[in-house]
């Protein structure tokens, strides 16, 4: 029967594709773990410095990843600190107050912002720092603050979309009840809508954190360097995990450094996947079950 033949070929293709995708990613993760596990020791993070003192920053670390880890944490905090309030505000406006043509145009603008390649955003940041350097103060250059700002711009559209779809996804009955009881829109937002969509918004924030932690192209152009020590000032260069991995891949000078690169890859992979799994579980209400038992 003709159908059987076609069915068989399709079957092979479908199952084969699923296998290909799964094994491709499996090979990537497996390779990183295989090469990186031997490097998982305290000296990976702290080099030759005593771990406890280096952890608190009393002793500088030179051949360890600790400054890079601190750098990544700092830049992510800055980015999220900038993007979450702005994204929340913009998302609320889009969901609650924008109508018709304005809403359409704003949606398109944010779609475009979401799709801008990360290196173009980095380029924008770099040229912004050039202008600021020339016209405002010669002390300004590519630095932690600039990287934080640019990463914020990178994840802003995702946050806006998350907030917007969270609010718009609430059932109509929920949205109207408080209003019908006489509350005005701000009260409705503050006491009803936002708390109900906290789950979805939290998911969006966590995904944004993950996106900031793993991005390399933006920080490559706006302040990440290979050696800078722990981040001390907003206006200075900093180290970061993804930058370290990129740097090591093309210019490792010893087998030990390459090993550290794999170790860094494991750490970054763990952070990214860990954050992603947390976000997934929040979306599936696991948090609620943990906290409220239902």
């Amino acid at each position: 029967m003709k159908t059987t033949g076609r069915f068989f070929v399709l079957n092979i293709w479908v199952v084969g594709s699923a296998l290909a995708v799964v094994s491709g990613a499996g090979v990537v993760i497996g390779f990183v773990i295989w090469r990186g596990v031997p490097a998982l020791r305290p000296s990976l993070l702290f080099g030759s410095a005593p771990p406890w003192k280096a952890f608190w920053g009393h002793v500088p670390v030179f051949d360890g990843l600790w400054p890079a880890v601190l750098g990544t944490v700092s830049v992510v905090l800055l980015a999220v600190g900038f993007a979450v309030p702005l994204g929340l505000a913009a998302g609320i406006y889009l969901a609650e107050f924008a109508r018709g043509r304005t809403k359409q145009m704003l949606s398109v603008a944010f779609d475009i912002l979401a799709g801008i390649p990360s290196i173009v955003i980095g380029l924008f940041g770099f040229s912004l720092s050039l202008s600021l350097h020339r016209f405002v103060s010669p002390r300004i250059g590519p630095c932690l603050l600039l990287s934080g700002f640019c990463l914020g711009v990178l994840v802003l559209p995702y946050l806006i979309r998350a907030v917007q779809s969270a609010l718009e996804g609430l059932p109509l009955s929920l949205r109207l009840t408080a209003l019908s009881l006489g509350a005005h829109r701000i009260q409705n937002l503050r006491y009803v809508l936002l708390p109900s969509s906290l789950n979805a918004i939290a998911t969006g924030v966590i995904l944004a954190i993950g996106r900031c932690a793993e991005d390399t192209a933006v920080i490559l152009l706006t302040g990440a360097v290979a050696l800078a020590g722990k981040p001390r000032s907003l206006l200075e260069n900093f180290e970061a995990l993804p930058f370290y991995i990129y740097y090591v891949s093309s210019q490792y000078t010893s087998a030990e450094e390459l090993q550290r690169g794999f170790g860094a890859a494991i750490i970054l992979l763990t952070i990214s996947l860990g954050l992603y799994l947390i976000a997934l579980s929040i979306r599936h209400g696991i948090g609620r079950r943990v906290f409220y038992g239902r």
Binding site: L86, I116, I119, Q187, Y246, L273
Partner: protein, 292 residues
């Protein structure tokens, strides 16, 4: 009465604040484009706009065209799509239609988690696993070439495409599929003649967004494609994409035409991205209109 008036006033204030936030965010979109244009201006003024896009890159001879980079970006994106589309389609079919419940769920969760793998890790594995293998197996070049980059990039864009395709396939109304079954169609026929055509708009949107992602990717091409600024003429030659060009030349002299060329790259990248966003938006709004 008093409470209501206060409420209105505070609502106006909050509304103003929110509107300002939105305008700032939207303004960023425009500001980025403006910066690219303004800083690319020396190049556009020095030679015509078309000359920049059509010439080859030979700074020592005074030619600052980005044609090789445009060619490389297109070749890499289309190549990665060519590899990734059939595989993602098949994988999505497995998860949403074909596979048995348990493996299908496993693959779905796995692919969802895969989207969290950092790009730089893909590039790192590519540099130490794919490049030596390509160099030894194909014996043509240093291993850092278009082919290696295509392999890794197609793996990277697959998860997002798979998830998009799954969404598109699952939103085909069950009634259509059941009707086809009632008429005697087998699984293959249902898939080919009912599900795929109905999910067409969602599938195309997924492909477009994956293309945008592939076109705008920096690290994989920077680490794996070799970075020679020549128009791609073979799968195993070293090439340099628009994005890698920006990363490489960023460190050059600020006022030179070389430096301005990276902003020309930025303009092209931005324009392509905006075009994709507009087309995808158009498709999506048409999709929403046509949904029964």
């Amino acid at each position: 009465m008093k409470r209501r008036v206060d409420g209105l006033r505070s609502e106006k204030a909050v509304r103003m604040a929110l509107a300002t936030a939105v305008v700032t965010a939207a303004a960023l979109t425009g500001a980025i484009f403006l910066y690219m244009l303004v800083l690319a201006f020396p190049l556009f003024a020095h030679g015509h706009v078309f000359r920049v896009l059509i010439q080859d890159w030979a700074p020592l001879q005074g030619r600052y065209g980005i044609r090789p980079m445009i060619g490389a970006s297109l070749a890499l994106s289309f190549g990665a799509l060519a590899l990734a589309i059939p595989v993602s389609l098949g994988c999505a079919a497995f998860v949403s239609i074909w596979g048995r419940p348990k493996p299908a769920l496993f693959v779905r969760r796995f692919v969802q988690t895969m989207t969290g793998i950092p790009t730089v890790v893909y590039g790192f594995v590519g540099a130490f696993l794919v490049v030596p293998v390509v160099r030894d197996v194909f014996q043509a070049g240093s291993g850092r070439c278009l082919f290696s980059a295509i392999l890794v990039l197609s793996l990277m864009i697959s998860p997002t495409m798979v998830l998009f395709f799954i969404d598109a396939m699952e939103s085909v109304p069950k009634a259509y599929v059941l009707a086809a079954s009632a008429l005697g169609a087998g699984p293959a026929e249902k898939f080919l003649w009912v599900i795929l055509p109905c999910a067409r708009a969602g599938l195309i949107t997924g492909v477009l967004l994956a293309f945008g992602r592939a076109f705008g990717d920096t690290l994989i091409s920077l680490m794996l494609a070799g970075n020679a600024a020549v128009f791609p003429s073979s799968l195993f030659h070293s090439v340099r994409t628009l994005t890698a060009h920006i990363a490489l030349v960023i460190a050059a002299d600020f006022q030179s035409l070389e430096f301005a060329s990276i902003f020309a790259c930025g303009v092209v990248l931005y324009a392509v991205n905006a075009a994709i966003a507009l087309v995808a938006w158009n498709l999506r709004s048409r999709l929403l209109e046509n949904r029964p």
